[in-house]
Symmetry: C2
Subunit: 165 residues, 2 copies
Amino acid sequence: MAEAELKISTKGEYASRAMLELSLRHKEGSLHIKAISAAQDIPERFLEQILLQLKRAGYLRSRKGPHGGYALAKPPEMISVAEVVRVMDGPLAPIDCVSVTAHQVCPHEDACGLKGLWKETRDAVAAIMERTTFADLAKRTLAARAKFAASKGRGFRRTARPSGA
Amino acid sequence: MAEAELKISTKGEYASRAMLELSLRHKEGSLHIKAISAAQDIPERFLEQILLQLKRAGYLRSRKGPHGGYALAKPPEMISVAEVVRVMDGPLAPIDCVSVTAHQVCPHEDACGLKGLWKETRDAVAAIMERTTFADLAKRTLAARAKFAASKGRGFRRTARPSGA
DNA sequence: CATGTAGTCGACTCTGTCAATCGACTTTGT
DNA sequence: ACAAAGTCGATTGACAGAGTCGACTACATG
């Protein structure tokens, strides 16, 4: 028995985290894979191919050579989580006969009273992810961190970041 | 690339279909595996083990010998889809750090602004499945079938033939 | 009480997907 | 031109999901 039937692939998760990191540090210009990998704890080599995919899909732009790296291709408020997840894992549907992007005829048509239910859940999830942008996530994250820092007591240094500068 | 990041296992799907069939024909007393398998087009041998699991979890009762078979252990309006799916696939969470039944500390705590979002989607899905009972599904199915029959009933079958008579 | 019917159980296979890694190539800055 | 950084695609290893099998046990009826 698995542990979840509602599953976001780690790839989708990593992609989201990477995009979030990029959104948080949007001002800094481009970030190297290493920086993102370290900040979000994602295997560097794996992240590499994720960023690549995201770039091909038009969400990121990259620069080679020294001082290169990745950056968002559009402002964070223009990118929804749904888009990113879809790039990584494909269309979202709880079961094939309900997908908006990849339907196929369900052999049970009339017999399948479940179809409506699956569609309902799909729509609910899609709606949430569709309306949440990375700007939203960044805002929430900042808020959460501030709260965290405050509750942890003054004088505490915050999360150690492998920052240069 | 997969085709869905929101996935109900076929086991969960089959279990739901079986329960639906049992609900639809609740009046008939118990049904044999064969009948359910045929009606819902589920591999007999596979269905067998699914029903078994459902029985162990207390949703079905069975009778051996001739005239045996499976039947619901409680009325359809007392069983939610969420329960059944959970029996088959375990707790539902888009990612481990959000599961209500199987949490584990997320190593990114503060850094993870995504957590809230995953939780949101989980709750949305859970809410839908929790409030939908098999009585609901049976009703919907009957309605869908009636509609289907009506539209099929009048008129003639579509003629793809170049020249009719 | 014999016997076929039906259910129970656990182990097993097979396939596909997912996560992750490598090696080599290309581009860019100095 | 050389090194640093990014790009690419192929490969791999592990594990979960889907479906199968064989044998065992219980029951109901002739």
